[in-house]
């Protein structure tokens, strides 16, 4: 294997990352601050892992604590990569690597080395190493064996994330795949919370679960970190190796299936006018622009994926949470989820409205329309598409939520959904105009949003969910329900902010169009 060339490609990935950021001084500063912060977090977390090791040894439960820490990190990394798109950016596709003199094995190595050397996986490795080093220092484990164990664990973690991401990407592209994906996610998110109370009381359930989990990568790594005997060493090393081989085989199989070209054999023109009919409600001048945007939303793998995960994920974080006492606590917490549901489904596109147009962005300014109409059409489409989920969420909530019905809940949930959608879309106009980013339309995974869009998406979700929880704790359901009418001025305020942003944004759009053009066509 030409390892020199492979590592040169890894270096190139970082050079490209640097090239993207060095064009403006501010970006360089941001990059440096970002990496310094990551380093600080790495140090802090490593110390945290070290602390966990100290606690583990002192409590005499070294292996149990190691299992808990490694298991939690393992799962967190998967959530961060699969749900938020960190750590699964495919820097080089197999097709792109074919330009270089590399054989298939070298291409595979180059792709996955660039993948696993993403900052997120290095942070996870730092956390895991903190634990294993701590175990060694406090005499609960061997140093080199600990290092090998956490390295194998991070590789397994990365491969699990890759397999899941590839599987979801493949499913989101095949016919009916989105529905299967939605059902799978709904099952994964809802089922544990529904079954947990029954299983906890079932005889021997926890013991059986722990026995089964011994075969999982984090438990195998924990066993290796904490003084294994010879048979345990061989068993767990073998287990980790088997996991890696199995995951590599699964990944290869899914990638092969996904790489099959789409059947685009010669086909006559079929006029599908559904988009045009729907768009006609926005008036004749706006209709072609809205119909174009609707096609982009409906054909985007990212949007389709987010549509399928939005409801299950929000149901999981609200209804799936144990909230003892008054069942109406779940209602108050759900207000936060309703505020983000429509935005979460469309965020990848609406926070970067022109990012998927690439050179098509240029065409907008050659059209015989005012640039204001382009911004309006694009934003109206985002709001329209985002509006499709809240009615479904409301219906499901009213039918399925284990909360005694109160008529005031329906307008409050609806108000939260509409107000949240308008509020977030108002801010999304600004991220689209001020922090545009050229984005590949065909991809499903990888976080390609700008820093501002990420702040809006992640911060917005945390703010709404956290705000609703805080409201529940401070005021309680009864008082919240008494103020049901507040949802009306809240919606009006959000609408005011939205239309103000559209109006003011139109002027900024015209003023910044050359900068947007440069950014979206790949010139900085």
């Amino acid at each position: 294997m030409d390892s020199q060339l492979v590592f040169r490609l890894v270096g190139l990935r970082y050079k490209l990352l640097w090239a993207q950021t060095r064009t403006r001084n501010g970006r360089i500063a941001l990059f440096m601050v970002g990496y310094a912060s990551a380093l600080l977090v790495l140090i802090a977390f490593t110390a945290g892992g070290y602390g966990a090791a100290m606690l583990a040894v002192r409590s005499g439960q070294a292996e149990m604590v190691a299992r808990a820490v490694l298991g939690a990190l393992f799962l967190n990394a998967i959530v961060a990569s699969v749900v938020l798109g960190f750590g699964v950016n495919a820097a080089f596709s197999d097709a792109a690597l074919r330009r270089f003199p590399l054989n298939p094995i070298e291409r595979l190595a180059a792709r996955h080395l660039t993948g696993i050397l993403e900052p997120m996986w290095i942070i996870i490795l730092g956390l895991d190493l903190g634990l294993s080093t701590g175990m060694y220092v406090f005499g609960a484990g061997g140093f080199w064996l600990g290092v090998v164990a956490v390295l194998l664990l991070v590789i397994t973690d990365y491969l699990v994330a890759r397999v899941l991401a590839s599987l979801i990407e493949w499913l989101s592209r095949v016919r009916g795949g989105t529905a299967i994906l939605g059902l799978m996610l709904l099952t994964v998110c809802i089922l544990p919370s529904m079954l947990a109370p029954r299983m906890a009381t079932a005889q021997g359930f926890i013991q059986r679960s722990m026995l089964a989990l011994r075969f999982s990568p984090p438990f195998a790594a924990a066993a290796l970190v904490v003084h294994p005997n010879k048979s345990s060493l061989i068993f767990n090393l073998g287990l980790m190796a088997e996991w890696i081989v199995f995951l590599l085989a699964a990944l290869a199989m899914i990638e092969r299936a996904a790489a099959r070209p789409r059947n685009v054999a010669a086909a006559a023109i079929v006029w599908i006018s559904g988009y045009d009919r729907v768009a006609s409600i926005f008036g004749p001048a706006m209709a072609p622009l809205v119909a174009r945007s609707l096609r982009y939303y409906s054909r985007s793998n990212k949007v389709r994926l987010n549509f399928s995960i939005a409801l299950p994920v929000l149901a999981f974080v609200t209804l799936g949470r144990p909230l003892p006492g008054d069942p109406r606590h779940k209602f108050v917490v759900s207000l936060g989820a309703f505020a983000v549901v429509g935005f979460l489904a469309t965020a990848t596109m609406c926070t970067n409205q022109f990012g998927f147009d690439a050179s098509g962005f240029r065409r907008y300014f050659l059209l015989p329309i005012s640039p204001e109409a382009i911004l309006r059409a694009s934003s109206y489409t985002a709001v329209f598409v985002g509006c499709l989920l809240p009615p479904v969420a409301l219906l499901l909530w009213l039918v399925l939520a284990p909360v005694p019905f109160d008529w005031r809940m329906a307008p409050m949930l609806a108000g939260s959904a509409v107000g949240g959608l308008l509020f977030f879309n108002a801010l999304a106009i600004w991220t689209s105009l001020l922090a545009p980013r050229r984005t590949a339309f065909e991809t499903t995974f990888g976080n390609q949003l700008s820093f501002s869009a990420n702040v809006l998406l992640i911060g917005g979700i945390l703010l709404m969910l956290g705000g609703a929880t805080a409201l529940d704790q401070m005021a309680g359901p009864e008082i919240v329900l008494q103020y049901w009418w507040v949802s009306i001025p809240a919606v009006l305020l959000a609408a005011g902010l939205y239309f103000f942003s559209l109006r003011r944004g139109a002027a900024v759009f015209i003023e910044r169009r050359e900068r947007l053009l440069n950014a979206l066509e790949g010139r900085n």
Partner: protein, 257 residues
């Protein structure tokens, strides 16, 4: 006949960099006009300014007798543009893209559908109904961009590098259509690096050098009649000779090649 394009002292700067400097130009109506220059000379920037995409730093532009400014919506309806980067919406199918373009330029639904069908057949793209533009070859993408530029029968057509990547039969068809457009009294403004094509298709030519400075403009129909072009007291029998004289010949020696 009103000049199709009049440019007075056009300057376009990007920060400290000057892309076009004090360019003045008149393009007569009803002509096929070749706008030539080496790479980076400011051709695309000039077209960007002439089509309303870019704001000039200084100068005045009149298109079809009317001043061009930010709100020239009616004027844009009379223009067709094929930009250098093509400006396609990659997630759409070819017929959807052309239909969008036709509707934006005011064609009614029935006319738009009829013209889309006719253009796709003429461009040999009739069987691409389920293929996204991102899946098209470079030549096919160029044909779609050309179709989008002409679908609304513009009075003034801007074509930035229209022939590159298109096969010879496609180029021949496009040239034939362009001659038809000019014969109807409409104007074509094109840039290309294929000077032989310019010699055969254009009647008027302007040559610019970096940063967007006009160094020659004139009638080249004399070449068709076996004549020559005069400049600096010298005679040039081909457009290529004149172009190289004006822009500088560059022959770098690479021993290892």
């Amino acid at each position: 006949m009103t000049p199709a394009i009049q440019v007075f002292n056009l300057t376009k700067k990007y920060g400290e960099t000057t892309a076009v400097e004090d360019l003045s130009l008149t393009v007569p109506g009803g002509t096929m006009f070749g706008f030539l220059g080496p790479n980076g000379s400011g051709k695309s920037t000039t077209i960007g300014c002439l089509t309303g995409l870019l704001d000039p730093t200084a100068g005045e532009i009149r298109i079809l007798g009317e001043p061009l400014h930010d709100g020239s919506v009616a004027l844009k309806r009379r223009m067709g543009v094929m930009p250098e980067t093509l400006g396609l919406f990659d997630a759409l199918y070819a017929h959807e893209f052309l239909f969008f373009q036709a509707r934006m330029f005011g064609l009614d639904e029935a006319t738009a559908r009829r013209r889309v069908g006719e253009l796709l057949n003429a461009m040999e793209l009739g069987g691409t109904g389920k293929k996204r533009l991102s899946e098209f070859s470079a030549g096919m993408r160029k044909r779609v961009a050309f179709a989008a530029a002409v679908i609304h029968t513009p009075e003034l057509l801007f074509l930035d590098e229209p022939f590159e990547s298109i096969d010879p039969a496609g180029v021949a068809s496009i040239k034939q259509w362009l001659h038809g457009i000019v014969a109807q009294g409409r104007t074509v403004f094109l840039t290309t690096h294929v000077l032989e094509t310019v010699e055969r298709t254009c009647s008027q030519v302007a040559i610019i050098t970096p940063p967007g400075k006009l160094v020659w403009q004139g009638d080249i129909t004399a070449l068709d009649r076996g004549g020559s072009l005069a400049h600096d007291g010298r005679q040039f029998r081909t457009l290529e000779q004149l172009f190289l004289h004006l822009t500088g010949e560059r022959y770098a020696q690479l021993d290892w090649l």
